[in-house]
Amino acid sequence: MTWETVIGLEVHVELATKSKIFCGCSTEFGGAPNTHCCPVCAGMPGTLPVLNKKVLEYALVAGIALGCKINRYNKFDRKNYFYPDLPKAYQISQLYLPFARDGRVEYVTRSGQKKVARIREIHMEEDAGKLIHSPYGDVSYPDFNRCGVPLIEIVSEPDFRDSEEVLGYLMWLKSTFEYLGISDVRMEEGSMRADINLSVRPGGSDRFGVRTEMKNINSFKAIERAIIDESKRQIELLEAGGRVIQETRKWDDNKGRSFSMRTKENAQDYRYFPEPNIPPILISEELLRTLAERQPELAHEKRERYIREYGLSDYDAGLLTEKKALAELFERTADLCSDPKETANWMLGDMMYLMNRDSVTAEELNIDPAQFADFVIAVRNGIINRTVAKSVFEKIFASHDFNVAKYIEENNLRQIDDAGRIRRIASEVIAENPKTVAQYKSGKTKVFAFFIGQTMRRLQGKANPSLVNEIVTELLNHAD
């Protein structure tokens, strides 16, 4: 029997506001424990929340980008539960009237397939704190710095069938939020994390199986592994005649498997009710229009435009648009040198290689588009040849203050197009290597490269390569 995996996601994304959602404490990551706290976010009795305007704005921007219907009238509710990372013992969230519903995301998987995920709803809520667990005793230490950091929770329909789809969707979200500038989307800092609801069913069935939930997984790698593992676990269980139990499981990425949170879980009944301390939100048509107009071109839109306007392949366009910083560098450079194709080639080839080699992220890139454009023009106009170009590009990559023209002049790197000079050098190489010439004559044409290499080397690699090729061929064929 074949099995089908059915996955729905709840993705939490931290919004990049300066202050928390309901108080003025800083949202900055990584402060000493409990130093970004005030009576409001530390849950002291008598305190009251006041909504951060920017949170609503960022949330709406996300809702629009995900194609949602915006609930012009929306409200906050309380979700009640006891846990030491939740100082008020309730989370202010949205249940009855979330700000966005019924969205739709078109994304592309790693293998290039176009897919659609439906968004059930997006709501605003506050983050909880962090628990630091003592490696020794039986205690944990709550740190409330993250309490009250603004989040949106994006709830998808169960539209994913494997980890590749999930990752494609998550990449889409990540790049979209980055483009919108509404989140840092740093998974390692927990600013984007996913709860995975997963069930399996016999292929062809249209009924859902019993699902499990794995919470707060915050790396793409771990998400992929967790999906594969959980889907395998459920299938094996069912094939052995067992039953899947609806439960929350904890994914342990080090052990590479999930565990039932079998500690006698208290009844889950969150007793949501309207938050009495926050009046409802009413969103004007005008605000929505302004935000929609301000919406920048998103990754997938750029990708399509690059294919259409620059004739880039789907794959290349995807690589260039995945990160906002890359797309910006590409567009500014291509604009200055009017050569998108050549710009793309250098970025996809040498630049990606160097980024990889030196572990440089897109955000850390330090290339000056003006110099990069000068460089592309120099290569295109044959002012430097490709061999020299590779080393020049490394300099551009390494420093923002690098000046291409000056460097070429000072180091005398201009391409040698002087046919007479090339002919003279090539003749010397041929004359000094009679044995190799004989090999060539006897049909060992592989040694041709030797003559090219030697000639190039004696010209410090700066010679026009096609001219060298032409002259060496001619001389060899005419050698006696």
């Binding site: 003025g24 424990p33 409990n34 944990s140 208290n266 009046p279």
Partner: protein, 95 residues
């Protein structure tokens, strides 16, 4: 339909309030009376009435996204029953 005892035990668990047997019996009786009294609302026609959580129709009360100084950590932790210099202390939440 759950019995009164099951309901009281369920809400006590949700509320994190431990009741001994006598207290449970007392709560069954007293809560039962109050709930029965509240049931008078079931007889009122509320068809089509929008539930009202705020009596004033105010909306959009918001503040600017500005950072204000946090409190001294000591002020946040001072009232804790058990603490270190930096945090509260709670029984371990995972095994």
């Amino acid at each position: 339909m759950r019995t009164a005892k099951e309901i009281v035990e369920y809400v006590a668990e949700l509320s994190r309030i431990k009741l001994d047997e006598d207290e449970t019996e007392k709560m069954i009786k007293e809560l039962g009376e109050v709930i029965e009294y509240m049931d008078i609302l079931q007889g009122l026609d509320t068809e089509g009435v929008e539930p009202m959580s705020h009596v004033f129709p105010i909306t959009n009360v918001m503040r600017e996204d500005e950072v204000t100084p946090s409190f001294e950590r000591e002020d946040i932790l001072r009232n804790a029953p058990e603490r270190t210099d930096e945090t509260l202390v709670v029984p371990k939440t995972i095994e």
